[in-house]
Symmetry: C2
Subunit: 229 residues, 2 copies
């Protein structure tokens, strides 16, 4: 009768392997700017912090490095990437090629609950913006896009887009610190309106503006920062 002894009742949720848990934790830290651009990341530091062995941490760092969320420094150190103007331009090009297309597909394929989910997330986002809650802004902003892209049903494109988010996450956190949450671009209402009307092209155009404005602000902070790093 009883298959295993994970829990006496309730659904059996196999807890994920340690390397997966570490990767997710590391991903959040990169994505939501809890690590600053240029900051060094050490294996033993992460292992102590996340209460894990060195091997799973090592694996998580390799994945994140392949994702572009961390970079090898030539010697054996890894750190959070520091973007230059060219990097931002490349990311902008790629995002403008991918994310409007994902938006288009999501709009055309949208299922029943999607619009509600997006509205809820956007409401939480507005609350975070009003409160000047930077971590909240970063999380709900990402969640909005993530939810939308998942609805497109295009795993490879979505993965590719998510990887780009890892690259500019730490820099976006710096942008928030500089500009505050009030002055950040938010074309989400336009996107939601287009989704309601099932106007895929309008949604894609609004997404292009959202992406372009966000990347432009990252660029401004880089230029302002003086050093090309």
């Amino acid at each position: 009768m009883v298959m295993n002894e994970k829990a006496a009742s309730g659904p059996v949720v196999a807890d994920p392997p340690v390397h997966e848990r570490v990767y997710q934790a590391l991903r959040e830290r990169v994505l939501y700017g809890e690590l600053r651009p240029g900051q060094a990341v050490t294996i033993q530091g992460l292992a102590a912090e996340l209460d894990a062995g060195m091997t799973p941490v090592r694996e998580a760092i390799r994945r994140m490095t392949s994702d572009g969320g961390l970079v090898f420094q030539g010697n054996r150190r890894v750190s959070v990437p520091v973007l230059d103007r060219g990097d931002v331009a490349e990311i902008l090009f790629l995002r403008c090629a991918i994310e409007p297309e994902l938006t288009r597909r999501a709009c055309m394929a949208q299922g029943p609950g999607l619009l509600d989910d997006l509205h809820r997330t956007d409401a939480a986002l507005d609350t975070a913006i009003a409160a000047g809650d930077i971590p909240g802004y970063l999380r709900y902003n990402h969640l909005f896009h993530e939810t939308l892209y998942a609805a497109a049903g295009a795993v490879i494109m979505t993965e590719t887009a998510e990887r780009l988010w890892l690259r500019f996450g730490p820099s976006l956190r710096v942008v928030c610190g500089r500009f505050g949450t009030q002055n950040l671009p938010d074309r989400h209402r336009e996107i939601l309106a287009a989704f309601s009307a099932r106007d895929a092209e309008a949604a894609a155009a609004a997404m292009t503006r959202d992406v372009t404005e966000g990347m432009t602000q990252v660029l401004e902070v880089i230029d302002e920062g003086g050093a090309p790093g």
Copy 2:
């Protein structure tokens, strides 16, 4: 005087770490179709084959998984991905968004030796095609594109494109086995002619054709193969 005892004479080349060597070996196997779509990859198998410990192999597999060149199978096994029509369509879209742009940039920024290098690689490619040498075809075809993209000086876009190559490498090998090397698309001469004339748009257009024709053939093999896997 002597920094270390790697070699009594000659340039001191710090040999790469084991996990890097393993990753490169794994990458070649995926990229050049030495592993078939669906084939299982085991940690201990690779470790034995490449004469390495489990930890470096593990790291290499994580990187390759993040690259899309291998996939988790839900249980803890990993295998070479099997593409369906939707996957190929996504890869086609992304390649058509990225690779012509890289071609454009490479054409405009082309330095002195580039055209010679590309001609040499293309000549080797033609030799491989004439001889029906499938591994040679796959290697020189990839090298042609790789050389071209490196000249664009766009690291993020190049990395993104290279990741896509890892996804369709094994399937491309199957295409070669089915169609032979003679009937594969080769728009390289058009690209080279456009480079000579420094006509970036013509080069980009030729690249779009090269990419589209290649992916179309992959699609045909998938459809022919019967099962959607």
